[in-house]
């Protein structure tokens, strides 16, 4: 583990974009632009995706599984509960009546969907987690942060690029 973290803050989105472009175009050994760069922003910038490239999101799959599980287990569970030993006729309706069970299945479908989606979100976005040591509160105000992880050797180059694009601030992990 000889990698170090670097955080550069930018006040302007265009500047940040330029930095990313440059990082991408510059070959720096010990730094992989796809793996070692994280962009932090105070709001959700749809543009970030554009310049970072398409990254897959798997939350929907959780949703699907949750909803299907919720619905089917709900229906089966309710029907089974109705057909337990104490099955008692009610209001001339069958012991296992379909319309009420469909209503409940619908609710459980949503319940399962929502819960598992949240679970999926937590898994996919890696929350809850400890913040990285180079977290800067300005990111939650209006600055764009670019967090990079690089070999000791690449740090200098990266710093230069950051500085070139008028980084407001460059934070650096203390050396080992």
């Amino acid at each position: 583990m000889s990698k170090r973290h670097l955080l550069a803050l930018y006040g302007d989105f265009d500047q940040a974009e330029a930095v990313v472009k440059e990082l991408r175009n510059t070959k720096i050994s010990g730094f992989d632009v796809n793996d070692d760069m994280i962009v932090k922003s105070p709001i959700e910038h749809p543009e970030v995706e554009k310049f970072l490239g398409e990254k897959p999101v798997y939350v929907q799959w959780f949703t699907l599984i949750g909803a299907v599980l919720g619905g089917s287990l709900g229906f089966l569970g309710i029907s089974s509960a109705q057909a337990n030993f104490f099955m008692q006729m009610k209001g001339g309706k069958p012991i296992v009546p379909l319309p009420p069970n469909f209503v409940l299945t619908y609710e459980l479908f949503i319940l399962g969907g929502v819960y598992i989606t949240i679970l999926g979100f937590l898994i996919c976005s890696g929350l809850p987690a400890k913040r990285s040591p180079l977290y800067n509160a300005k990111v939650s105000v209006d600055n764009i942060g670019i967090l990079v992880k690089a070999e000791e050797a690449a740090v200098g180059a990266l710093k230069a690029i950051f500085a070139k694009h008028k980084a407001l601030e460059i934070q650096e992990e203390a050396g080992k």
């Binding site: 969907g113 890696g126 509160a137 939650s140």
Partner: protein, 458 residues
């Protein structure tokens, strides 16, 4: 009339909203005091009722339900506007919702919690409420899944938990801001905990967007189903005045209506109390008012449909009940409901009043009253004028205990809501930033000539 300024500094947004967590206007404490007071009265009434029996509410044998159920529906209905603002308008990319959806969402949560209380208050044997919960038990007995009340319980549970999660998830970036800006103390710790270590990385934002959208998609049918199910508490029964096909949409429209009215009320209060004049701007209010007006007309229409369908049916009993509502002992309340629900919103059609805060405040209170009366007029007249003429009611007026608990619920709601607004950012900071950012972009693209174009969906 000024909208949110595009050149507003993002740091100022943070500061302004964070200020609301610190020092609201004195009125806040006055409201809080009265909320605690009313809530205390409600608690006292409930304790008395618990000890003596439900009879102290002055319900009687044909007339077994009263204000509790009516108020229950009222609170359930109120919860719908939060979903309307946060989910429906979110899907429609109406960005004017952004400064206000947070408190609307909170309103959803808290009014659902209040509604849940009424289910409890209403039970004759509150201490046995767990019989209605489907948990595996030693006796092998399950609740009756055929009962619309159970659907209700299930729907409300789903809705409440989903709403809380939705509120929470949507608040994570703001909690992170609060965490970063709060001076150290227990609240900072709380925000740190709740923010889950949010850093605003691209990965987090990506998943956040999808999650938020997905839950919004779920919430919309859920909200509709919740009030349809509340409607089927009545619609699934056999009683005249309840067994009406149009009840589900009628209830949903009523729910949105009362929710919007409540949003107007709370909008005005919050704007003043927390000094949110820069965010909760009059143009936004104007949009809500227009929306409310539209829903009011939908509600009026559905009301007419209900009368017409009763009128043209050959169901003499229902017809009888309708006439009774208009002319019988409940007539004053019924006509008050028509007045508040259908006549008063006409004020909103007048442009001058659409941004007149005192007028809007008064009107929205009247609308709320009207919608509360509507629920009462759905519940009570059927009991006092049902199928069986021998048992028609002669002496049924809610007792002070019943009123006390109803008022107590308003105290409870206000208490929760006010504490929430003081504890958590009630204006979504990151989304206001987004809104400003997008507008700025928009302005840049269109040049400076086109100014103050109203955005969003009308």
């Amino acid at each position: 009339m000024k909208d949110i300024r595009e050149d507003i500094a993002w740091a100022k947004i943070n500061q302004d909203v964070m200020k609301s967590l610190e020092n609201p206007r004195p009125l806040y404490w006055v409201i809080l005091f009265f909320a605690v007071l009313t809530f205390g009265i409600g608690i006292g009434c409930e304790v008395y009722q618990y000890q003596m029996g439900m009879g102290v509410a002055n319900l009687d044998n044909p007339h077994v339900w009263g204000l509790y159920i009516a108020t229950f529906i009222f609170w359930i209905g109120m919860s719908h506007s939060g979903t309307l603002l946060s989910a429906i308008l979110h899907l429609m990319h109406a960005d004017w919702r952004k400064p206000i959806y947070r408190f609307a969402e909170a309103m959803t949560t808290f009014s659902l919690m209040t509604a849940g209380l009424f289910v409890m208050v209403h039970l004759g044997r509150l201490w046995q409420f767990y019989y209605a919960v489907p948990y595996p038990n030693e006796r092998w007995v399950w609740p009756n899944f055929q009962s619309p009340l159970l659907w209700d319980a299930m729907a409300i549970f789903t809705y409440l938990s989903s709403s809380v999660l939705f509120l929470f998830v949507g608040m994570i970036p703001d909690l992170a801001i609060a965490r970063d800006n709060m001076h150290s103390g227990w609240r900072k710790k709380l925000y740190t905990l709740l923010a889950l270590g949010w850093e605003g990385t691209d990965r987090q934002w990506r998943n956040f967007r999808v999650t938020y959208l997905t839950i919004a998609c779920f919430l919309i049918p859920l909200a509709v189903s919740v009030h349809s199910i509340v409607a089927s508490d009545f619609g699934m029964s056999q009683q005249p005045g309840w067994h009406v096909t149009s009840f589900p949409p009628y209830f949903v429209a009523g729910a949105l209506y009362s929710g919007c009215a409540a949003i107007i009320t709370l909008f005005i209060i919050l704007r003043y109390v927390f000094k949110f004049e820069d965010y909760m701007t009059l143009p936004i209010l104007k949009k809500i008012v227009r929306l409310t007006f539209a829903i009011a007309m939908v509600w009026t229409y559905l009301n007419c449909i209900e009368f017409a369908s009763v009128w043209y049916s050959h169901d003499a009993v229902s017809k009888d009940l309708l006439i009774q509502k208009m002319t019988g002992p409940y007539a004053p309340f019924w006509w008050a409901m028509i007045f508040c629900g259908s006549i008063v919103p006409l004020v909103f059609a007048i442009k001058r009043f659409q941004t007149n805060i005192p007028v809007l405040f008064a009107t929205s209170l009247l609308l709320n009253l009207g919608m509360w009366l509507e629920r009462w007029m759905i519940v009570s007249p059927t009991f006092s004028h049902g199928y069986y003429p021998w048992t028609w009611d002669h002496d049924q007026w809610p007792s002070m205990i019943q009123w006390g608990i109803v008022f107590g619920s308003f105290g409870w709601f206000t208490l929760l809501f006010m504490v929430f607004c003081k504890m958590f950012p009630s204006v979504s900071m990151y989304e206001v930033k987004e809104m400003v950012y997008h507008r700025t972009l928009h302005l840049k693209q269109n040049g400076a000539s086109e100014q103050t174009v109203e955005q969003g969906v009308h």
